[in-house]
Symmetry: C2
């Protein structure tokens, strides 16, 4: 059976990238690899819209986030973190584990943090060294207005603006320099379209200054070491060579398409999918939908497990379920990375036929028609 992946990480890997990664391995101290790293570094700057270094680590995105906490701060430092889902929750737990004082901005799942919430927390915690925001919370498919909140933080504090961009980079507009961001982390298996195993961490001048003051112990995730190696197109530890070669290939695709075109493509796909899902009669979960992943309420009377099994076994479609308290209540369709218009038609068709199998009442084809109309009118 032909299989199609609509999960928010791993995301599908383009065929040319798969084949590039399958080529005979080369040594990381060979000049040829240095050239690849240089090109990856340059294209990462383009993807993050920055002139600042974007460091590459051999770890998952969670490891990338850890590198920012242990490399920028000292025991007892206060960091504010927005918790509006499973990942935001982790960025509260993690700094507390390392002896930082994490102040939580608790946000209802499916809602984005407001300016007022951030402003209030900054006023209550004037000692805060950083505010951690999640650009696109994967567990809830909810997007945060990073540009607006970064401005609020910049205008009202000296706190560093730190962004979990793990599911947002390559889907949502993001301008590291123009928006005054200090830290942004992403993972390889998301908008970068390669398998998991790499984290990327962009750091501003203020973030680099913070590294000099940081006293938390660190070794593998010491961003000062990564920064020093970066200057020589190198990494402090053995790099994940095949994944970096994949990143090189994928970033060249990203460069060729143009990052602004990629943001527009993700908005176009998400919008059409939202219209299709609504036309079928299903309800979107998020008040501020992400362009990377779309969470949908499971209709009354349909259970997640058999629904998911039908999608997978009958139609070859893999989507994601709900997490935490929304397990069994919502499902999530990802359109992050290597997706186009007809992929949205494909997943809507499988969704319609599965709903039909389960006796859900709706006009067959209505979702697809709404998505097509959306594509035809929004260009």
């Amino acid at each position: 059976m032909k299989k199609r992946l609509f999960t928010p990480g791993p995301t599908p890997v383009p065929e040319t990238v798969m084949l590039k990664m399958a080529e005979p391995i080369i040594h990381h101290r060979h000049p040829e690899f240095g050239e690849i790293v240089k090109r990856v570094n340059d294209n990462l700057k383009y993807l993050f819209q920055t002139e600042q270094p974007v460091l590459t680590l051999a770890s998952s995105g969670t490891g990338g986030m850890e590198s920012t906490f242990v490399s920028l701060f000292s025991p007892g430092d206060t960091v504010i973190a927005v918790n509006g889902g499973k990942f935001g929750e982790r960025w509260v737990k993690m700094p507390n584990t390392f002896g930082l004082n994490a102040v939580e901005i608790k946000v209802e799942w499916g809602k984005a943090p407001t300016r007022e919430q951030v402003l209030t927390s900054l006023r209550e915690n004037p000692q805060a060294k950083a505010v951690y925001l999640v650009h696109s919370e994967t567990s809830t498919g909810t997007a945060t207005d990073i540009e607006g909140l970064a401005r609020v933080i910049r205008e009202n504090s000296n706190a560093l603006v730190c962004v979990d961009g793990i599911t947002a980079i390559g889907a949502h507009e993001f301008r590291f320099d123009a928006w005054g961001i200090d830290v942004c982390v992403t993972g390889s298996q998301k908008g970068m379209m390669i398998p998991p195993g790499l984290a990327f961490v962009a750091v501003s001048k203020r973030a680099i200054e913070a590294m000099e003051r940081s006293t938390l112990p660190k070794f593998y995730f010491d961003l000062r070491k990564a920064l020093k190696a970066y200057g020589n197109n190198d990494t402090p530890w053995t790099p994940a060579i095949s994944l970096i070669i994949g990143a090189d290939s994928a970033l060249q695709m990203i460069h060729a398409e143009g990052v602004e075109n990629i943001w527009r493509r993700h908005e176009r796909l998400a919008t059409a999918l939202h219209k299709g899902i609504t036309a079928i009669g299903l309800m979107l979960f998020s008040d501020s939908p992400s362009f990377a992943v779309t969470p949908v309420w499971l209709p009354a009377g349909i259970e997640w497990k058999p629904f998911n099994r039908t999608l997978k076994d009958k139609y070859g479609i893999t989507i994601a379920g709900g997490q935490g308290e929304y397990a069994g209540k919502i499902f999530r369709i990802s359109h992050l990375g290597y997706f186009d218009e007809l992929d949205m038609i494909t997943v809507l068709s499988a969704l319609e036929m599965t709903l039909f199998d389960f006796g859900f009442q709706f006009e067959l084809g209505s979702g697809i028609r709404a998505a097509q109309a959306s594509f035809l009118t929004t260009g």
Copy 2:
């Protein structure tokens, strides 16, 4: 030009493994992936010769080593570490960074630590919680008698026996359970024959008990979290899926060949290469040569850079240079992983022709003849 890699990590990746990793990516929460992880876990036990868990982390080997320090110990704990090369040196620096008290057993480069050295250090540091040994020190191509030293440590202390097996696993005889080892770490790009990006950490019951007492802060490298996920054929963070699929394929090859046959093959290749190199008139660097990598003194009058460039540009052969104070003084030929007898003839031939190019005085073909004789007599 046809290129051949004789470096101690990355090592060549078998063609079937490369192609397996190039297949369409699957989701890590899919049951199919759970089956792969289960098979990897079972085959890792076989490779390490243990009934204990061997945990898989998305990091380099250095990250794997860090996971053992932060997960097993508490601030102020004493750990003894053998420093006989670049990596041993790192296993002294790293625990000190995290507030442990690392006691160094300093060993001259190219020599192995003795029982007396270990015994003296244990007597001087009866409070030591662990002894860290390097099975095959990559920088010096020197092998340590792990079985013998583990016995000394076990008979004279309660210290955990912790082994950097990064360049040894899959080359040297290693029996985690039978030898009473508590911790052993390896990396994917070594005897495992896959690209870098994974670390593997075997933990004994005593090591698991130590985890319960450990108070050092940790999150990404928390082996308790890894152990909990391990029970469900899972990992705590997004796994490096494509590399785990590669590990599955490579471990099946290892299982089919048989780990004892693999150890014997590495000994046979190393022995023949040593004889060939000596027959040419070159000098081996190590007093206790590793079966994974062979370091050789550069002959007087030949400089490393042009020598290396000729091997690379004229013969397509990549070897490794010396590290630290031996940079420019020695070169290192790796035969770790996917190598056979004729590969040794290949590298000896390139070495002979390069030496001839540089005017070194020797009988052309003498190294190859000695290696062939070694193969023919040792079966």
